[in-house]
């Protein structure tokens, strides 16, 4: 790269760069929704949800029970009629059923026709999707979820875990470009969860977009590029994991901490104390110098340093933080309202 390429140029160059940026953009997002609203009776389940999932991107949908996650998913797929808002799937308006040709879906409530066998169910979904998938590929799909040897068994005899695995096969069988998984591991054992994680990562590798709704935050943290956090029917936060979890922490075991040393510690960032253990939030832009500088100065100021452990705010802590802030904000607004 030349120096001229880096230097800010005139508006012409900026326009060219912008044009290049647009040209380099992938095709329309896998999911795009704007201003989704839904009310059930007196309950406003979803109020103004907007987000998008790019092609090949894995996006996690997080939030407490009743946050509206499943309602949002069902509105995306045309199973629930939104009161307001727009949805585009793979570049086509979702009001047209044809937009769902390349969409696979594993519902939270997974139940399949108990009188069919596993291979008949996949054949049914292939026919309904209108996509040409050979019998060999359908068998492969069953094998992918570990049900190859149950292809001829009636679904009525399947356990919950097996039905959920089968549901995953149904979601994947018609060569989707977008897969929507609503709590895909709720009935699975740890081994099954690991399988689902591998499958999602494999989909991502193939450029298939995945929208994943899960309570298992660790699962989301491992596979998702981006996270959308819903709370009370609204998007409370969204962004890449790096954006959401940008803040890093440092855990230090210190004794003989003088007042000066304590002041130096607080100057780094917000600190919590638990006995001799201190947890300090590190600045986002420390450029890798903050930790050695802090330790060196603490030693100079007479503190005895027993342990220094890097820490990272987990997605779970972040999620709880966002939800609690939201609840506190609502409580404050509520009490203000009462005072007025």
């Amino acid at each position: 790269m030349t120096a001229a390429g880096l230097a800010p140029a005139g508006p012409e160059a900026a326009r060219a760069a912008a044009a290049q940026l647009v040209a380099d953009l992938p095709s329309a997002p896998a999911v795009w929704c704007s201003g989704l609203r839904k009310r059930y009776g007196k309950q406003q389940a979803v109020s103004g949800v907007s987000f998008s999932v790019d092609r090949g991107e894995v996006v996690g949908l997080l939030g407490p029970n009743g946050a509206g996650k499943t309602s949002v998913i069902k509105m995306l797929l045309g199973l629930v009629r939104p009161d307001a808002g727009e949805v585009m799937l793979l570049g086509a308006p979702a009001s047209d059923p044809a937009a769902r040709v390349r969409v696979g879906y594993l519902p939270e409530l997974f139940r399949y026709q108990p009188w069919l066998d596993a291979s008949e169910l996949l054949a049914l979904h292939v026919r309904l999707s209108g996509v040409d998938v050979s019998e060999h590929d359908q068998r492969e799909c069953l094998a992918l979820v570990g049900l190859a040897d149950r292809a001829g068994d009636r679904l009525g005899g399947f356990s919950k875990g097996m039905q959920q695995r089968l549901g995953l096969a149904v979601a994947l069988v018609a060569r989707p470009d977008l897969v929507v998984l609503d709590e895909p591991t709720s009935a699975l054992d740890p081994l099954g969860r690991a399988d689902v994680r591998d499958i999602v990562l494999e989909l991502k590798g193939r450029g298939v977009a995945v929208l994943l709704n899960s309570h298992l935050i660790g699962e989301v943290e491992r596979v998702c590029d981006r996270v959308v956090i819903l709370d009370r029917g609204q998007v409370a936060a969204s962004g890449t994991l790096a954006e959401l979890l940008g803040q890093r922490e440092l855990r230090l075991h210190l004794t003989d901490l003088s007042a000066q040393a304590r002041a130096r510690l607080l100057a780094t960032g917000k600190a919590d104390q638990e006995g001799d253990w201190y947890t300090v939030a590190l600045p986002v832009d420390d450029l890798g110098r903050a930790v050695p500088d802090l330790v060196a100065e603490l030693v100079t100021l007479g503190a005895r340093v027993h342990a220094v452990e890097p820490g990272r705010i987990s997605l779970e802590e972040k999620l709880l933080g966002i939800l609690r802030e939201g609840a506190a904000g609502r409580a404050a607004a509520g009490s203000e309202g009462v005072q007025r």
């Binding site: 059930y40 009629r81 409530l109 139940r111 026709q113 309904l128 209108g130």
Partner: protein, 286 residues
């Protein structure tokens, strides 16, 4: 083209469901019992009359008993289809089976039409096959063959279609079991209202007679059933009963064939109720 494929796929699925569920087994068992009982009954009738009945009396008896047994079949078909139509729609939406299917690129109206066609095929197929078996048994045992078996069986199939369309509309709004119970309840009520109307007609009481006419318009099952009976019974049977004057009052004989206008109304009724079911199903949040 894709809509046609969806409709046929769902219709095939519905037929497969009906054939694999216990309901088919129960229907077959009930039908065989009824066929065997009626075969035995007709053979006793022929044996015990021992030639004391005139040909006309024998024909009258055969007509009445045939209509009675056919009513049994239409009741079995009504119960079977009503309790199949309920679970297949509201049962699937309640259990979540419909979620994965309706998330496919298909229109809900095509899904509903497929379900309806499958159920019509099943219900109509049942009454036609069972009815044909019954007519054959009667012919083999007492040598009676109805005057218009084809149109009579077609009307029985139409009656089943009317009832399952109603059950389908109900199942888009209420629970599976309730929709079956309400549909069968309405079917029986209309039949009773038809009988009451017939008694009113024979007594010359217009108000009571109107009960039958109105109920026949609201739910055409009883009207179509009376048309079917007319096709099964011997034309001379009516004259045997008081010269035909009181035939109206008799629940297992029909005084007159159906008018084309009534048949047209029954068709309009089915289209209307199907349209309502589709509207209700299209608006449903799953």
């Amino acid at each position: 083209m894709t809509t046609v494929r969806t409709v046929l796929t769902i219709a095939g699925l519905t037929l497969r469901e009906a054939s694999r569920r216990r309901v088919l087994l129960a229907l077959t068992a009930l039908t065989v019992v009824l066929l065997a009982l009626s075969g035995w009954g007709f053979s006793r009738l022929a044996a015990e009359s021992g030639g004391t009945l005139t040909t006309g009396e024998a024909r009258l008896t055969a007509s009445i008993v045939l209509n009675l047994v056919m009513f049994g079949f239409s009741l079995i078909a009504a119960l079977g289809t009503a309790f199949l139509a309920g679970p297949t729609l509201s049962g699937e939406t309640e259990s979540g089976i419909a979620l994965a299917v309706l998330a496919r690129p298909i229109r809900r109206s095509a899904f509903l039409l497929g379900k309806w066609l499958g159920l019509v095929g099943f219900g109509a197929g049942f009454v036609v096959l069972a009815g044909l078996a019954q007519i054959t048994i009667v012919w083999a045992v007492v040598g009676y063959w109805p005057p218009e078996p084809a149109s009579a069986l077609a009307l029985l199939a139409a009656q089943t279609t009317v009832l399952l369309t109603l059950a389908m509309l109900l199942s888009t709004a209420i629970s599976p079991m309730a929709s079956g119970v309400v549909a069968v309840g309405l079917f029986c009520t209309t039949w009773v209202a038809g009988v009451v109307g017939g008694v009113g007609a024979s007594l010359g009481n217009e108000a009571v007679e109107r009960v039958g006419s109105v109920s026949r318009m609201l739910l055409p099952t009883d009207g179509l059933w009376r048309g079917a009976m007319h096709g099964f019974q011997d034309p001379s049977a009516l004259i045997q009963i008081s010269g035909g004057a009181d035939a109206d009052a008799f629940p297992f004989l029909s005084a007159a064939p159906l008018t084309p206008a009534y048949l047209a109304w029954a068709a309009v009724w089915v289209v209307m109720i199907w349209g309502l079911a589709a509207t209700s199903f299209l608006r449903k949040d799953l």
